[in-house]
């Protein structure tokens, strides 16, 4: 596995040079976003320029940073400091922690509401979802869910929040006006991530141990399709789907497959797996640039991130970051 990965990394220099000359040259500085990667065991955030693909800084944060997202205007970065039971808020112009939010115990993943104020947090050790008013730093609600809540998805209209619980193996549907669980859908073992399609009609949920991605009809709240994966020369047990991203036009989905060290590229309409992109080891979370030209993956065991050219469906570079990269977010501008 590592051999395949290295060959890819060294071969990517040429590919990247070509890509830089053809794809990115024409787009100018408009495509220069900032990429933030949480390093779970480095207690830091690596900062990367999406145009030069160079690490421009490493910021200190609380212990065991995992979930990460930016404010709507990109001026603030939110980082789950799981072992410090808080969410650190960083000023992206200085890289300093300016305040911390009371997140409840062991925050792992979160998602920001459409207005940019309410933050929905999965408290992994505490079987609940905490809703935080970011401006007032106030807990608005605590919603009891299953054991080890993890994945957080929000419908495009912001009305339905979905949390997946890893040991209960359910997707919990939460009404964001009443903060009540309105339904639960059983999925495969150890659901890690929930992602709505842009039209809000379907929800994709990855199951790490089950090795599948369930597609849930949001209106009917039932599983309509299960995607499975098969990679020659990779043990089925090593195929552990985690992060999911779907393009805005609904054409392609990318699924990180954990210790299979691959990202699956899926036709999001027919649900067929088209190819597997070899990336670093234990690939975990994914994030697009806002223009969706690039996709970044965190590779926990090889301490790097992979950069995917979305249109070409090719890995163009790997970038060393800190210890055990976990989450990734890209600035909106």
């Amino acid at each position: 596995m590592s051999r395949g990965f290295r060959a890819n990394a060294s071969g990517s220099v040429v590919a990247w040079a070509l890509l830089a000359a053809t794809t990115l040259a024409g787009t100018g500085s408009a495509s220069a976003y900032t990429v933030y990667v949480t390093n779970e065991k480095g207690n830091s955030v690596s900062v990367i320029d999406s145009e030069t693909l160079a690490v421009t800084g490493t910021w200190k944060v609380g212990r065991r940073p995992r979930g990460v997202t930016t404010s709507k205007d990109g001026k603030e970065l939110f980082v789950c400091a799981s072992d410090d039971d808080r969410i650190d808020v960083l000023d992206t112009s200085t890289g300093k922690v300016v305040r911390s939010l009371r997140s409840g115990p062991d925050p792992e993943q979160f998602i920001l509401g459409p207005t940019g104020n309410l933050l929905y947090v999965a408290n992994e050790d505490d079987s609940q979802v905490t809703v935080i008013d970011v401006e007032k730093n106030k807990v608005m609600a605590e919603v009891p869910v299953g054991v080890e809540p993890e994945g957080m998805g929000l419908s495009p209209d912001g009305k339905i929040l979905v949390n997946t619980s890893e040991t209960t193996n359910m997707a919990h549907f939460i009404d964001t006006t009443t903060f009540q669980v309105i339904d639960n859908v059983l999925v495969d073992a150890r659901p890690r991530f929930a992602e709505f399609t842009a039209d809000g009609k379907f929800l994709w949920v990855s199951a790490e141990v089950g090795g599948t991605v369930s597609i849930i009809d949001v209106a009917a709240r039932r599983v309509v399709k299960k995607i499975t994966f098969k990679i020659p020369s990779v043990n089925d047990e090593a195929i552990q789907p985690v992060g999911i991203r779907i393009t805005k036009d609904g054409s392609k989905a990318f699924v990180a497959l954990g210790p299979a060290n691959r990202i699956a590229v899926i036709d999001a309409k027919t649900h067929t797996v088209e190819k597997y992109l070899p990336v670093g080891q234990r690939v975990w979370q994914l994030a697009f640039t806002p223009d969706q030209k690039l996709l970044f993956s965190t590779n926990g065991s090889s301490n790097d991130i992979s950069v995917v050219d979305v249109a070409a469906e090719k890995v163009v570079k790997s970038i060393p970051v800190g210890l055990l990269p976990w989450g990734v977010a890209v600035s909106p501008n």
């Binding site: 009371r102 409840g104 115990p105 062991d106 992994e124 050790d125 505490d126 079987s127 609940q128 905490t130 807990v139 608005m140 609600a141 605590e142 919603v143 009891p144 869910v145 299953g146 054991v147 080890e148 619980s165 890893e166 040991t167 209960t168 193996n169 359910m170 919990h172 009443t178 903060f179 009540q180 669980v181 309105i182 339904d183 639960n184 859908v185 059983l186 073992a189 150890r190 141990v209 089950g210 009917a220 709240r221 039932r222 599983v223 043990n235 047990e237 552990q240 210790p259």
Partner: protein
């Protein structure tokens, strides 16, 4: 903060609305309209799980690493809480009836008492003989027994019982896990040192079988005749005869068979030739370790430490996996009916996610839980078996322990 106004461990408190005005109980919700609930919603049902264990005798005051009184029990309690958290959404509740055996009560009496209360699931943290007497005493009463502590291969072989499921890895699985790691490391020559107790003899037998299976060479075997020197600790000087008995042996690795932890820890650093030590001490094969943190194990470690106030031990994990098997089967079958669940544990469709990176299943031919086995030294994870490269037509997990063609188990 709201979280501080209640116990983080009390789902019922949440359901009763004790979490404060903003805390809205999900248990009050109908699980309506989900694909699962499209069938008639199950009535709220309580499942009682019986646990029988024998507490360790109180340790000497100077024993720094004594087994805690609630070893195993604390794991079962955590699994009951986990089952109840999930049960909020499936309308299932679980309770644990614990019986600690003392001189006045036998395991069979305890089992009869629990079954008399209507209990259909028994979790045992008992030696092999008592597992058998309990299994036979409750035969025909629709009771499923989970063995969490007895690694004896005969319980999965000639003495297997249809109503017993084994969560603890057999000795064969433990020694196969070590043998695979030694093969990977190209350590071939083994010096087997065997303690005086029955378990030690059985462990040595399992190791001999693993050596044959994985082509390792046992270059010498000697009995341990120097008593429980490890338990004597630092207050006795190193005994010279115990050192020199390793002289003149050609070996890569010393394998100690000491299941009672009496002397195995005395061997490392005292052999004449500098050689690593493995087996029941030194490098060991087990189910759980404080340094296991991948595959979500960190969450289980944290949850357990908060609930029990100590580190999770292998027996805690095994009791947890037994009780979670019941909860998981009930979630998957959407019923807690013991008549439905009992045959389902051995169904290939059953699976238990249990912090090992793969779903665990029970082998249909002997009811042993298939599972990766971790190889650890006292302060670090070293490896996980099955090792890379050991393949099997069914699953690599079946390279550990007794496979279908070799099994001596014939369910009556």
């Amino acid at each position: 903060m709201l979280a501080s106004t209640r116990s983080p461990l009390a789902p019922l408190a949440l359901a009763l609305g004790l979490g404060g005005p903003w805390c809205l109980p999900a248990a009050a919700q109908e699980p309506a309209r989900s694909a699962e609930a499209a069938a008639p919603a199950p009535a709220a049902t309580e499942t009682r799980v019986g646990l029988i264990y024998r507490p360790e005798p109180a340790p000497s005051s100077y024993d720094a690493e004594a087994a805690p009184e609630d070893e195993g029990v604390a794991g079962a309690r955590m699994a009951i809480k986990d089952n109840n958290t999930t049960g909020r959404f499936t309308k299932q509740t679980y309770t644990l009836d614990e019986i600690a055996l003392d001189a006045t009560k036998s395991a069979v009496e305890a089992a009869r008492e629990l079954v008399g209360r209507g209990i259909k699931f028994l979790v045992l943290a008992l030696p092999a003989d008592e597992v058998l007497t309990v299994a036979d005493a409750v035969k025909g009463e629709g009771v499923t027994v989970f063995n969490t502590a007895a690694p004896d291969d005969r319980l999965r072989g000639a003495d297997c019982r249809r109503n017993v499921f084994h969560v603890v890895p057999s000795r064969a699985m433990q020694t196969d896990a070590l043998a695979q790691f030694f093969t990977l490391m190209r350590w071939r020559k083994m010096f087997l040192i065997i303690g005086p107790q029955d378990g030690d003899r059985l462990y040595a037998e399992a190791f001999r079988n693993s050596a044959r299976k994985f082509n390792l060479k046992i270059t010498a075997e000697k009995p341990w005749t120097f008593g429980p020197l490890a338990k004597a600790r630092g207050d006795t000087p190193t005994r010279s005869e115990a050192m020199v008995f390793t002289r003149g042996v050609d070996y890569d690795l010393a394998i100690v068979a000491d299941e009672a932890n009496d002397w195995g820890d005395y061997v490392p650093f005292r052999t004449v030739d500098p050689r690593p030590v493995a087996g029941t001490q030194g490098l060991i094969a087990t189910t759980w370790h404080p340094t296991l943190e991948t595959w979500g194990a960190a969450q289980a470690q944290n949850r357990f430490r908060r609930q029990a106030g100590r580190l999770m031990r292998p027996l805690d994990y095994q009791a947890w996996a037994a009780v979670r098997s019941i909860g998981e089967a009930a979630t998957q079958k959407k019923t807690v009916d013991p008549a439905v669940l009992a045959p389902y544990f051995a169904d290939p469709a059953f699976s238990l996610p249990a912090y090992k990176g793969v779903s665990l299943t029970y082998r249909p031919w002997d009811h042993q839980l298939r599972q990766p086995v971790i190889v650890v030294q006292p302060k670090a994870m070293v490896s996980v078996a099955p090792e890379q490269g050991f393949t099997h037509q069914r699953t690599p997990l079946d390279t550990l322990g007794i496979d279908l063609p070799e099994t001596a188990c014939k369910f009556p």
